[in-house]
Symmetry: C2
Subunit: 197 residues, 2 copies
């Protein structure tokens, strides 16, 4: 009863995080009910974002410029680096306006089970970047999960070998929580209380 | 820090039912991470669905043909009509394969608070259609909410004035629940046990 066009739309919508098969059906109907206010602008916004947004070759942030606006921002402290798992985490930290350095988006955390090795995350490239920018501090702003903390340990060890100070987010971050879900106040407190890894 | 292209994409994604501002950010990042597997096919599927799917002028179902496949299906009982609130409810009933008549999608239920009057829902058009098809039964498959049941009462009264039998879904539908969220077994039991309204 549902034709292939709708079936395909629902199937693809269901792949978005946060939408299951049933909510994807509701979303498809909502799109087709509000074609001019929602479906057409959303399709156009997706095509535009795909065409304009590129991954920064320096820090792996998403931006319309390459290198990204943060990498090009000369007002930022040149020897302060923050390592995050994902672009969403970078956004969460930027919303606090409390960090004045630059970022390095890892694109994941180490996981023996998922086969995510230091090679996959290009940890060598991160260490090289920290050395080249003569970083006085590398803040490892990774989630307080087992894999996140194991990754922070691993990167901190590698940085220590190079004589670079590694810090972590301070108290305030709930144990077992994910960085992107913290409220901004807690995240600001954690930034202020960062400590040697 | 988030450019206008991304801001716009996130803003539009957040309008989908089931996605809030935070999950819309995650969805936008997921789309931009999986451009070829997800973003581009989804944008294309949306444009295709918008171009091909039309609302059936007879029953208000969504289909690539007009009138829709169900209205054109000559194997269906010609004098049996089912009134539903939404296309999602029509799909839910079709999944049971237990209803062999045709449908009428109201597009909402009566609500004094929201200003949804019988005129807005074009109840007159529904009564006219039931008369013209000489319906022996009109099944009012509306949600078991206060507004849904008030709408069923109102339509049943109008049908009774025309000498047309109105039925409702039987026991099995949980009180206060919404039709689209029923499992198929419960929905089949409710179809089998429908009673005079």
């Amino acid at each position: 009863m549902i034709g292939p066009e709708l079936e395909r739309l629902i199937h693809l919508l269901a792949k978005l995080p946060g939408l299951g098969p049933r909510s994807a059906r509701r979303a498809a109907l909502e799109l087709l009910k509000k074609r001019e206010q929602l479906l057409q602008p959303l399709a156009a916004a997706m095509v535009e974002a795909d065409a304009k947004l590129v991954t920064c070759p320096v820090c792996h942030n998403l931006d319309v410029q390459s290198p990204c606006g943060i990498c090009q921002d000369t007002k930022r402290e040149p020897d302060l680096l923050c390592v995050v798992e994902d672009v969403a985490d970078l956004w969460a930290l930027e919303r606090t306006r409390a960090f004045k350095g630059r970022y390095h988006v890892l694109g994941g955390v180490l996981s023996a089970l998922a086969g995510i090795t230091p090679q996959v995350l290009k940890i060598d490239k991160l260490i090289m970047r920290a050395k080249e920018m003569q970083a006085r501090e590398v803040l490892l702003a990774l989630s307080a999960t087992v894999d996140g903390q194991a990754t922070a340990h691993f990167v901190a060890d590698r940085l220590r070998e190079e004589g670079i100070a590694a810090t972590r987010l301070g108290h305030g971050m709930p144990v077992g929580g994910e960085l992107d879900y913290l409220d901004e106040g807690t995240l600001m407190a954690a930034l202020a209380a960062r400590r040697v890894a």
